[in-house]
Symmetry: D2
């Protein structure tokens, strides 16, 4: 039976990269390995065709191909969320329909600048939800990229008006007080949604402490995300943060806008998961200096994981 | 033999609307009538899949369909330019290849915010031109929409570095001094390109006086654009401007960002060319007040064309 | 007794330019002549230190000087609105206090990008209104410049939450349907505010038809604005629009962002009102081509006013 | 004798906060303590009236007061750079003159969106440099805040055209490859400038490795910045990074846009340097949850500094 995203989702939904061959084609073999890798590291779900999956640079045929490969590789073991943001509702809805027919658990939509205001966001999401009757929605709140912020109050109005919004992908920046404000509003009766945090995980311990249900981001060491969330939810926030801090230099390195995707793919390549770190043009590429820099950061991580109280994640 | 856009192109390249049925499908019958209408009104060329053609809201299949229908309807009688802007070069290049194979005269590309700087624009256009070896390029300079301005100096560098740039679609705002600066640089040796102006035509007489070769815009009365350019090029700038001024209230009305597309389509509908004024969601729609307002403006145009020295255009 | 802006304000509040000498100092003699000129042309009020008054390029001492000179020149004959927008509430409030002490009728405030959302606008205006207890506020809605749009619904919430908001300076673009939406909400009980429209007056006839109370803009022929509003309010919208259309080529020319201010000042200079058309650096300057272009447009206006039904304004 | 900023400046120029009383006035006593504190911690220079110094929310009188107090407190012991960015060159130049007369070593200027393009940046900085004949300039490259990026190539052109540019405040993001590109261009003959990095110090070890001369940022533990730069320049990049990593959780916490300033001031308050953490309205404020979060992060830092190899900074 198909997974279906609900507002009590927790854990780590990893944002999947989209691997390409050096020649630029979608590399389905690497994609299968990547899905297996994410599963082995213990993620709760997988999100595909997000911004960090280079979705805007895929053709529709390629997007369908990515959905097909991932759904087949997951084989029902994990819920899959599919990014479907688009300038027009027709394209958005057609891709969402395709994804849901293939067994996706829900779709992720980011607002865009054409919506102009919070009032415009609300109206557009009402129209989207009406078209996608019943499809669970993830609201991607990432103003650094979308240039379309929303306040906690307006998000509350959206949640109340659009019952199919099941989850907030929280990556406003700064966003900590927003997270607290939403949980506070829920305590006063606003419908509760799942909140998974993005931003490369840069504030994950703080976000968990403020009520996040986990993470939805694509850090190339998903085992850290999984273990940090596990420790936190097991009542060990200090242990969670110790582990997190060990990885923080790399989290920060990978979170550089644009450039970080090349770093992320290179780490996945070095770890033997994907065959090439290629990013679609126009896009960043590591040069020799950047390779050495990454080597050094990864070596420092290894050394630190071998030390003291942080105990290497599984 | 196929038309091929060159840097001495002149006249009016009309930006074609993309007609939809009331149910939202591309209306190919209306599109054929629209092409015929543009031809009858004397345009020099047709530009399809631009922003005002709602290109970002079409599926790739629909975009191909629009190209097919227009190329068939034009039947070689006019050059057709195809907008191919996209976030990634792969998608851009695939659409450009499709268009050129079908007989397009060239493709139009706008910069985007990911290019960040003039230096970034130049690098990206060099990459695009390398991929589209030899395909004539129109550079769409429309910062109000793209948020990516370019100075005359940097445009000159682009023209020199990328020989396939044949035309500037000039719609910076303010842009009059830019036009003059480019022509001045050409007088000093910079490679000359065709400059057709956009912005709904709002400054057409001034732009022609400053050296524009014509217009590339989508005003719903293409006969005005054609006749203004004709009079100007025939040595009658005063007569050109008299006619232009008669239409200016409607030019200005149609040039409202976003909303103006709904006005344009409604005028084309009222003129009997397209069956529906539908704009894809999310998009504007005329309400009763807006319909009455347009009726009044069109009646005033009729009255004015019946008067004095402006002599109705063919 | 001091004027005090109220929500039933009507007519033309001219946005005053700030004249400089060729050496760049505020030219108080020209400013006095300008105020006299505006008064002779029949404006209802004067707005100073707006964006087109180059307020952000004045020192605080100069801003005080402009207020002093204008208040003295007006001598109580007309209400004066003072633009006081600032990054911080302390500076805003200090300037507002100065203006009100000198006899201003109210102050104008534009939202800024730091407010981020409609919710942020509301919160900030509540804070501003609390600081400026009772001072009549004009909300300047000019997203093209501020990058901070507001929907009719959110503006309604603002009007209800902040009783001191007396007026909307309406210059969203497109903004016609917003104007109608606000008037419709007022018909259903929302507190009525005065709506004066900006945008250089580009849509003045349409805006009056949709319920605007007049204009607040700085066109260099204020007699046109005054007469158009007068005719419209006297029940002659057709006559109003006839006159407007005669000036429209120049309205459009003056409304070019940034550059238009240099045009406006040059017209005022040619009309003998201000001594120099200098704009503060960095800012636009007319070159020879631009001067000739303006000469031609002004000659065409003269010719047209001498013709047919438009009957020159007083 | 007055210090004068040169292109071989190195070390840590701390970005000074501007302390306010709880009532909102500039707190000069706290400011004096802050200057003394920075000196005790070993900074090389002090930068005042930057964005994080809330310069846009000060009146001109207050800005003068800050300059006066800091120059008196520094008493010639350290070079002081003064932020003078402004919408107009007159205001910018007047503030720069004031600062230089009072003994500043140079002034810092950020580009703004009105400059539009790299070509516009160059032209404006040429005009600024001409007005400030000979005053050493720091170019603040902070597109996240200014929305005005510059490429390494265009920065090189600027350096060549404007000899008074002595320093780059490097805080583009991502910016690592830019730093390397500038140093590479210098190796090929471009005039060398000092590069101090900002961004809260988030990538300081990587930036030093790529050729930065130090930091210009405002982290509330300046001793970390000083010691990291010292170790790096003493040939111990590993030791530098060990220390840095211990502070990284707080660096990241303080680097949240907007909100981070409230964090920074609260840390300075807790350390006994400034009397109040007040930020000017509209601005952020820590609530109870944020206070507890900070307490926890500071305790974790203390614990970590007590451990293993990072050896507490002096």
């Amino acid at each position: 039976m198909a997974h279906r995203l609900t507002s009590d989702a927790r854990g780590v939904y990893i944002i999947s990269a989209t691997p390409f061959t050096d020649e630029g084609a979608v590399d389905h073999e690497s994609l299968k390995r990547l899905v297996a890798f994410y599963g082995e590291k213990g993620v709760t779900g997988i999100t595909i065709l997000g911004m960090m999956g280079e979705a805007p640079k895929l053709s529709l045929t390629e997007s369908h191909g990515v959905i097909d490969t991932v759904m087949a590789a997951v084989a029902g073991a994990l819920p899959v969320v599919v990014g479907v943001s688009s300038a027009g509702i027709d394209n958005l809805s057609a891709l969402a329909d395709y994804a849901m027919e293939k067994g996706a658990a829900g779709v992720m939509v980011a607002p865009n600048a054409a919506m102009k205001t919070e009032t415009g966001i609300l109206a557009t999401f009402e129209a989207i939800a009406a078209r996608l009757a019943g499809v669970p929605l993830v609201y991607q709140d990432f103003p650094l990229s979308t240039a379309m912020p929303i306040s906690p109050a307006a998000f509350g109005a959206l949640v109340n008006a659009v019952p199919s919004v099941a989850m907030l992908k929280h990556e406003d920046w700064p966003g900590l007080s927003k997270l607290t404000a939403i949980r506070a509003a829920e305590a006063k009766g606003q419908r509760r949604v799942s909140i998974l945090t993005g931003n490369g995980g840069l504030y994950l311990p703080q976000e968990l402490a403020r009520g996040a249900d986990g993470a939805m981001t694509g850090f190339a060491f998903p085992e850290m995300l999984v273990e940090v969330v596990r420790r936190h939810q097991a009542g060990d926030p200090g242990g969670a943060e110790d582990l997190f801090d060990a990885y923080l230099p790399l989290v920060r390195h990978e979170q550089q806008p644009g450039f970080g995707l090349a770093v992320r793919k290179e780490i996945l390549r070095r770890r033997g998961i994907i065959a090439s770190a290629a990013v679609r043009a126009p896009g960043p590429k590591l040069d020799g200096v950047a390779h050495d820099e990454l080597t050094r950061l990864m070596a420092r991580l290894e050394r630190r994981l071998g030390e003291g109280p942080t105990a290497k994640a599984a």
